[in-house]
């Protein structure tokens, strides 16, 4: 392991010096792990960074692993969204973990920074949902064991809209009829960030106009050299978005929170959202059903599918144990089911996925996700979100003139930063 010696100056210097300053007020050695004495001798210490939810879910699995291998596992709970950044900055100094839980769309960037190592799933790759393994693959290597799959879908209030809409027009007319009848306030709720619209929640509609973001290579991976964001279908989507905004179907002032709150209070027959909001709807007593998003532009309205999984640090002190933990425990049904039960997102392991089908919501979201596309995990994707969202925000707020012009300018700008 290479050390960044300057960082070491800070760390060790602070340690030794603060001790000197306090005249021996503290103990230098890290607290000895409690299970060390009980475990069979020889095992290394595996450090895992997880968010609280998954750490809770995996308590038993980790305990089993410790017992069977004699390894001491130290679970460090972190905020999920900051794990990638912490790994990027801390791993090269040798202070990082062996294993992290992460989202598949971090992979390109993490690999570019050289902080994650490929994991060979071997023949077990076939035991997972195909989309999950594809999502975890970047430039031909698989970077982790997938655990859960999430995506958005159309959630409808069955009291206001008993039947799933077959077409976009049907959705709009049902929604509008409910508004006209006074039983609802909004024909449809799509949560939007006031500063940044929300390309993720709007993507299914965009895709239905034949508007992907990147072209696809022969092996199914995204081609960073082929930006499709400015293509004809996408421009058509931009125009439709402008029109929906003018008609009040997409409202720039409805944030994610407002969308959730309003749908829970029965103010709209439809919302486009993910499984993370279902518990709020259940608590509010809304009768809901989950179905696919109808196509607005003629082609299937495929949402982005996000996959979460466990990855191994390229700077892991215990690469072999880390690999064993992933391929034998995290890839096992017990772990996958445990994570599913706390998170309500479809498990990536096929057998666990099938068992989870008994839950109607998971089955419905899973079905929509199976037709979806993985969110691009190439590092270039990071250059898109901001401009893309701002352009959508402008169109929805009816600023900047003709939607097509706004959209094309955005695509050109992204193209130039990709080239640059």
């Amino acid at each position: 392991m290479k050390q960044s010696s300057l960082m070491k100056v800070a760390g060790v210097g602070a340690l030794a010096l603060s001790l000197a300053a306090c005249s021996g007020g503290g103990t230098p050695a890290p607290a000895p792990s409690q299970s060390e004495s009980a475990a069979p001798q020889g095992g290394g210490e595996l450090v895992i960074w997880m968010d609280q939810n998954r750490a809770d879910a995996l308590t038993d699995v980790v305990a089993t692993f410790e017992e069977e291998t004699g390894t001491t596992v130290e679970v460090v709970v972190q905020d999920f969204d900051s794990i990638d950044e912490n790994l990027t900055t801390q791993a090269p100094s040798g202070e990082g973990p062996d294993v992290i839980v992460g989202a598949h769309d971090w992979i390109g960037k993490l690999a570019q920074n050289g902080v994650i190592a490929p994991v060979e799933l071997g023949d077990t790759a076939g035991d997972f949902q195909e989309i999950a393994v594809n999502a975890m693959t970047f430039e031909g290597s698989t970077y982790g064991v997938p655990v859960s799959i999430e995506n958005i879908a159309l959630v409808r209030n069955t009291d206001l809209a008993p039947e799933a809409p077959a077409t976009w027009d049907e959705l709009i007319s049902t929604g509008q009829a409910a508004v006209d009848a006074g039983s609802a306030e909004f024909p449809l709720l799509v949560g939007i960030d006031p500063n940044n619209a929300d390309p993720y929640h709007l993507y299914p509609l965009q895709a239905s106009f034949g508007g992907p973001v990147f072209g696809i290579n022969e092996d199914g991976s995204y081609n960073a050299d082929d930006l499709q964001l400015g293509n004809e279908g996408n421009v058509a989507f931009a125009q439709a978005l402008g029109q929906w905004s003018a008609e009040g179907i997409i409202n720039p002032n409805i944030s994610q929170d407002i969308a959730k709150e309003q749908f829970a209070s029965g103010a709209s027959p439809y919302t486009i959202t993910g499984p993370w909001n279902l518990s709020a709807f259940q608590e509010a007593g809304v009768n809901y059903a989950v179905s696919e998003i109808p196509s607005a532009g003629g082609e299937p309205a495929t949402p982005f599918v996000g996959v979460q999984g466990f990855m191994v640090s390229a700077y892991a002190n215990n690469p072999i144990v880390a690999s064993q933990f992933l391929t034998e425990y995290i890839a096992g049904e017990e772990a996958q089911t445990a994570i599913y039960e706390t998170g309500q997102r479809a498990p990536a392991l096929t057998t666990a996925f099938e068992a989870a089908q008994s839950n109607e919501d998971v089955a419905a979201f899973g079905e929509v996700g199976a037709a979806g596309v993985p969110m691009p995990n190439i590092p270039e994707m990071g250059l898109l979100w901001e401009d893309w969202g701002v352009a959508e925000g402008q169109i929805i707020a009816q600023q900047g003139g003709d939607p097509a012009t706004v959209w094309t300018a955005m695509a050109d700008k992204i193209q130039s930063s990709l080239d640059g």
Partner: protein, 531 residues
Amino acid sequence: MTTTVSKDSKATRTRSISTAPPSMKVLAVKILFLAIVDAVAVFAMSMLFFRGDWLVLGIVAVTTLLVNIVYLSPGLLPGKYLTPGLIFLAVFQVFVVVYSLYIAFTNYGDGHNSTKEDAISAIVLQNTQRVEGSPTYLVQLVEGPGGLGLLATSPEGEVLVGTQEEPLQPLDPGAVTLDGDRAVAAEGWTSLQQQDVLQRQQEVAALQVPLSDDLADGFLRTTDARNAFVFQSVFVYDEAAGTMTDTTTDTVYADLGNGQFETEGGEVLGTGWQIVVGPENFLYPFENPRFGGALLGVAVWTFAFAILSVGLSFFLGLFLALTLNDPRMRSRKVYRVLSILPYAFPSFLSALVWLGLLNTEFGFVNEVLFGSANIPWLTDPWLAKFSVLLVNVWLGFPYMFLVCMGALQSIPEELTEAATVDGANGWQVFRGIKFPLLLVSTAPLLISSFAFNFNNFNTTYMLTRGGPRMEGVTENVGHTDLLITLVYKTAFEGGNRDYGLAAALSILIFIVVAAVSAISFRQTRALEDLH
């Protein structure tokens, strides 16, 4: 800290019990503490020695020596008090500044995350891929005279053995011990137990056993010490030439001094490394006029924001303090408590609450106060600036109120009385006596408050994230961005995190704040001279 305490107790003791030998106990305690410190330092140094971290080792050694000299030698009394503080100062202030300065001269950021060696191993590792459809070998790690090796059982039941240097060789079935399908021991080789494997994980993970003398056939590698697959390296590093070769296309990537492997044609491998790039980051705003212009706009707004925030909240606070200090005012305590309330909430939470209040369609402000008007508080450039200021003044006035109230109450009542006797009216008393006296005690606080608001990240970031965005600039710069939020966005958000540029920008901020503070403090001294 403990030493200070022991010093004190020593002083008391010598005074009260003059018969006892004065410093024996104290000396013992001192030696004990120093021994602990030294033991820790020696432990740390031995760890550093094995890691080969010579720079840090040297620093720790010198510091330890210094600490021992200071505390063991008689005299040097000031040193005994100052040393801990100086050490903390060095670690937490000087080091941070020096390190930021160093980063500002590097290309540290996405794609340039670590050293060249790390980049090379990352590229090679990431492009070591399993040969499609290659079978799974069951392996047992073994050790022979040639070093660590793999005892592999092929799916057909053939048993082979090899090391990094010697390609796989078939073994005579008679010389092999089987456990089920898996060969677990062979004559002439020592099998490694699980715990041995765990002790040598790095070695095992790096082990590549060639299938044959021809490297192009690939090699066996295991990631879990139980199963192995045939891998091939797509990228090969040529140590002599310092180049990276893509074996599938025979493209050669060389290090042209830009912290990355690139071809003459400009094709770049994703993973690069950190290098010192000189003043490039400082020159960036000048070389990109659009970004430079936006940066200038942000700097002007940052000044305006800081000055207006301090000024408005100060005058609002002062006004309230004057009003609520007036004995004729009833229920003053209730009003005072109400005025301090905004101070009691964490500022980022308040900002989030305001974000909701200012929502164009659903916010309380538009809905209730303006009769369902759709005023775009946060999305119009000027209104957004106004909103950020409004929220920041709301957050800041209780502090000014408290400060002014304290300062007002400390002004002797006699002065006011004397002035009134001389025939001054209320306004004249305030202008001629109270206000100047008030400024003497509050001016330094106003300056520090300016410095705080100059870097007031919370309000801006939580409320608008710097938006609405400026048009015509490639970088993500918004109309309400302060320099500090711009630095944050450059460093941690968007497509390419650029710590080097962010560090350079933060150094520019540091210079501005330092200069403004220095000038202001000089002015304050003039104010005190007046007094």
